[in-house]
């Protein structure tokens, strides 16, 4: 049987890398006695696949993994047994059975909704924040510099991320800090990180943010069919 599970990644555990997560789940399967299917070959490893890596330092309430089991198990039991051994910041929220034909998480869940907050460095200035954001969204080109590997070398290329920003809005301003909500592409077709959103706001609007103070949380994942 194949299971797709939705889980959280909160608190300091937002600093776990993709690989650390894989290792955590593998240990948890052993401790929770989950009958995981192992790959064949010299170095068998559990048939587990995670979605696209979440940038380090960002929380999430909607991460996913797929895992194959050698025998059937009640979904509730799967959740409960795993949650008993998982740290409290990483918990299974729900899980469902999927079949062999279900496309992988990384190929479908390519649209992400973030909540992002950051401290303003110019809170005293009178600014129409929403107006500034709308002005930014009116740009047809918002270029950022991304580092890419080209063979052995790292090169910097310019990428226009405007088409990848599906939604960006102010969610509140108080106590010198500002909250945004944004829906962006996060996949092969385009990828925007929360830190990049703040960078382009800083660069192109009157809103000035302390980038180091950013807090971001992934609150929803959508499939390709998403339409505003």
């Amino acid at each position: 049987m194949k299971i797709r599970a939705k889980y959280t990644k909160l608190g300091y555990l937002k600093y776990l890398s993709h690989l650390d997560l894989v290792r955590l789940f593998n240990r948890s399967f052993i401790r929770a006695d989950i009958p995981v299917r192992y790959s064949e070959g010299f170095n068998p490893h559990p048939k587990l696949s995670l979605g696209n890596p979440l940038p380090l330092g960002i929380e999430s309430v909607c991460e996913y993994f797929d895992v194959e089991l050698t025998e059937n198990i009640e979904l509730n039991e799967f959740n409960n047994r795993l949650n008993e051994v998982l740290p409290k910041w990483i918990k299974i929220i729900e899980s469902k059975e999927i079949d062999e034909l279900t496309p992988s998480i990384s190929s479908t869940m390519c649209i992400t909704e973030y909540e992002i907050s950051a401290d303003l460095t110019n809170p005293e200035e009178e600014i129409d924040y929403s107006c500034e954001i709308n002005r930014l969204l009116d740009f047809s080109n918002i270029d950022i510099e991304k580092k890419k590997k080209k063979g052995k070398n790292k090169v910097t290329i310019k990428v226009n991320i405007r088409p990848f920003i599906l939604k960006l809005s102010i969610n509140g301003v108080y106590d010198g800090s500002i909250k945004f909500k944004s829906i962006v592409l996060t996949g092969e077709k385009g990828n925007v990180k929360p830190s990049e959103l703040l960078e382009v706001i800083n660069k192109n609007t009157k809103i000035k943010l302390d980038l180091d103070s950013m807090n971001a949380r992934k609150i929803a994942s959508y499939t390709n069919e998403f339409e505003e």
């Binding site: 600093y15 776990l16 650390d20 240990r27 948890s28 192992y38 740290p87 103070s213």
Partner: protein, 615 residues
């Protein structure tokens, strides 16, 4: 507690931020405000190195299992994190409560390697704790240290208030109990240290002693400054390992560490008596755990960690008396859970490889052997009880089993070494290569690669070679050049250690109290993580040597007289000085001493647990 918002900002800017967050499986979250004694376990290297150290897991659980005590961990932050911490005014903190180390009662460093001493100083500085012991009053924690390098505590005498010599399982709790009593009254640092030094065996308080020197820089005498403080410090050792505290849990790091598996300690000590090996002398005598004890401990550890590998970790694990029974019982027990067993070190015999073949779920392609010296004569000098036919047998067996990558470890600069012995390293390497290619064509599987690694010998305290002068850096480079020229085969890779690193190790490991000043200068000039080749900076060390006025040759390259008072002579590590002298003389004559499982060689340990067990 440190400013959490600042910590969050710092963590976003560093590599591997999970090094600095704690919260691992089996970590404790006791309320430190309710603890009667707060102990900060400090490891003077990065998280991944420290978390691979078994002693940490033992002491951490031992202390936290006591109601009145709490133990939290702190490690040396890597360069990027240190920069962030200093930039954002974050003091050194413990991973569990994110509490400043300065607010703990006791900070305990473990000393695993001499080149981590600058990290120790740097950590005190990051904790805003004065570095010199004499500058710390009752408002600061008591700073203590233990571990293998504490057997020569003198180089750190100016910094550490109290050393614990030997195995810490029993003495640590005695010390914390004593601290608790003192804290209940009007705490006075000196009174506490005095009580510890006079009431607990194995405790050394440097400030209660004064050292006098001769004109030639050697020690003329040690004077005890307080009454009843012992002249000789006897190392602590646990007598019955089956009854010894053993944790049922191990902390499970989120990030990959050096040893990502369960460490099952089979025994302490080693019976081979290799004359260069400090651990072989200071951890005597050998004391084994029973198979029953080990199976029980392994089960609890597997359940509590979810690790899929149990590593049998001891000084020479293949020596375990009931190794076969243990391994088969472990494999049977955990077959369903797909938990495997691994052996970190191999003896040079086919039995070891046989076992290895049976237990390794993931076939390793490479095997490592340590003949240590290139000729039989020199192997006899160092009492490494293997001969060339052992190696031949082991290697041909390994090839037959399909291993095609072999690593050989040697040392250069061993006492009595000649050019012939060095050429022997080359000859032995070529012999291994020929053995691979001289087999029938159909048996030659895999891509043959031999790596020959040569390190520079560092004479260590409490070994028969503690009097021996280390080769100079130039001499080491000459020997390296000689070897380099003889290795011309692309199938053989020749590696060597940096002689300058070994030189610093030699200066510090056999240092006296005057080395404190060198360490302080080196740290002030920016030395840290000296054990990391990416960070080691010899130019700075040389400047520190010059400015601190010590004579490096005196410490590293000078051969001592037997009647000289050595800086660590006041510590009783087990084997007597007479034994070490006898062993040194035998070494120079090329005579071997048998394994003490075969016959008691009378090394002088009192109440040796070995007597009547093996012989």
């Amino acid at each position: 507690m440190i400013n959490i918002k600042n910590l969050d900002k710092a963590l976003k800017k560093v590599e591997k931020p999970a090094r600095y967050i704690g919260l691992e499986e089996n970590s404790h979250n006791k309320d430190i405000n309710h603890a009667k004694v707060k102990f900060a376990f400090a490891f003077p290297d990065v998280y991944e190195v420290g978390m691979s150290h078994l002693g940490l897991h033992i002491l951490y659980n031992l202390i936290n299992d006591q109601q009145d005590f709490v133990c939290e961990r702190t490690f040396a932050p890597w360069f990027d994190m240190e920069y962030q911490m200093r930039d954002k005014n974050i003091e050194l903190y413990t991973l569990e409560s994110k509490e400043e180390v300065r607010n703990f009662d006791i900070v305990g460093f473990t000393l695993q390697y001499e080149l981590s001493y600058t990290n120790l100083l740097n950590m005190l500085d990051l904790a805003k704790i004065p570095i010199l012991s004499k500058d710390r009053d009752e408002t600061f924690p008591i700073v203590i240290a233990g571990g293998p390098c504490a057997f020569n505590p003198e180089p750190l005498a100016d910094f550490i208030d109290l050393f614990l010599i030997g195995e810490g399982e029993e003495a640590t709790l005695e010390l914390l109990e004593l601290y608790k009593k003192h804290k209940e009254g009007d705490f006075n640092k000196k009174e506490f240290l005095y009580d510890a030094a006079t009431k607990i065996e194995g405790i050394y308080v440097p400030s209660f002693y004064e050292i006098f020197y001769n004109k030639d820089n050697t020690i003329s005498k040690r004077v005890v400054l307080e009454s009843k403080v012992p002249e000789i410090i006897k190392k602590r050792r646990v007598r019955d390992l089956d009854k010894m505290y053993c944790p049922e849990r191990m902390l499970v790091p989120y990030i990959e560490t050096v040893h990502d598996r369960i460490s099952l300690e089979l025994f302490r000590g080693c019976t081979h008596g290799c004359r260069f090996c400090e651990a072989g002398f200071i951890y005597r005598p050998i004391r084994e755990k029973s198979v029953d004890t080990l199976l029980c401990q392994a089960e609890k550890l597997v359940d509590s960690t979810g690790y899929d590998t149990i590593s049998l970790s001891s000084l020479s694990s293949c020596d375990y008396t009931q190794l076969d029974l243990l391994i088969h019982s472990l494999l049977d027990k955990f077959e369903d859970k797909k938990v495997g067993v691994s052996l970190p070190s191999l003896r040079l015999d086919s039995i070891s490889i046989d076992i290895l073949k049976e237990i390794e779920r993931v076939r390793k392609t490479s095997l490592t052997f340590a003949p240590e010296a290139g000729s039989q004569r020199l192997r006899d000098v160092i009492n490494k009880g293997v001969n060339e036919s052992d190696l031949e047998m082991a290697v041909s067996y390994a090839f037959k089993e399909g291993y095609s990558k072999i690593k050989l470890y040697f040392m250069m600069g061993l006492p009595t070494e000649t050019e012939d012995d060095l050429i022997g390293i080359r000859d032995l390497s070529y012999k291994v290569k020929d053995m691979f290619f001289n087999r029938p064509k159909e048996e030659k599987v895999g891509n043959f690669q031999l790596t020959t690694s040569v390190s520079c010998f560092v004479p260590k305290p409490f070994t028969p070679f503690q009097w021996h002068g280390q080769d100079s850096i130039e001499k080491f480079y000459d020997k390296i050049d000689l070897l380099k020229k003889t290795f011309k085969d692309p199938k053989i890779k020749f590696n060597y250690h940096d002689p300058r690193v070994s030189y610093m190790e030699a200066i510090i490991s056999r240092g006296d109290r005057r080395i404190s000043n060198l360490l302080l200068k080196a740290w002030e000039y920016g030395c840290k993580f000296d054990g990391w080749s990416s960070a080691f900076n010899f130019d700075i060390w040389q400047k520190a040597i010059n400015d601190s006025g010590i004579d490096p040759h005196f410490y590293a390259n000078r051969t001592r007289d037997f009647d000289e008072i050595l800086p660590w002579d006041f510590i009783n590590a087990g084997p007597t000085k007479k034994t070490l002298i006898r062993e040194y003389n035998k070494a120079l004559d090329g005579n071997i001493t048998p394994d003490c499982r075969e016959v008691c060689n009378g090394c002088g340990i009192d109440n040796c647990e070995m007597r009547g067990v093996f012989n």
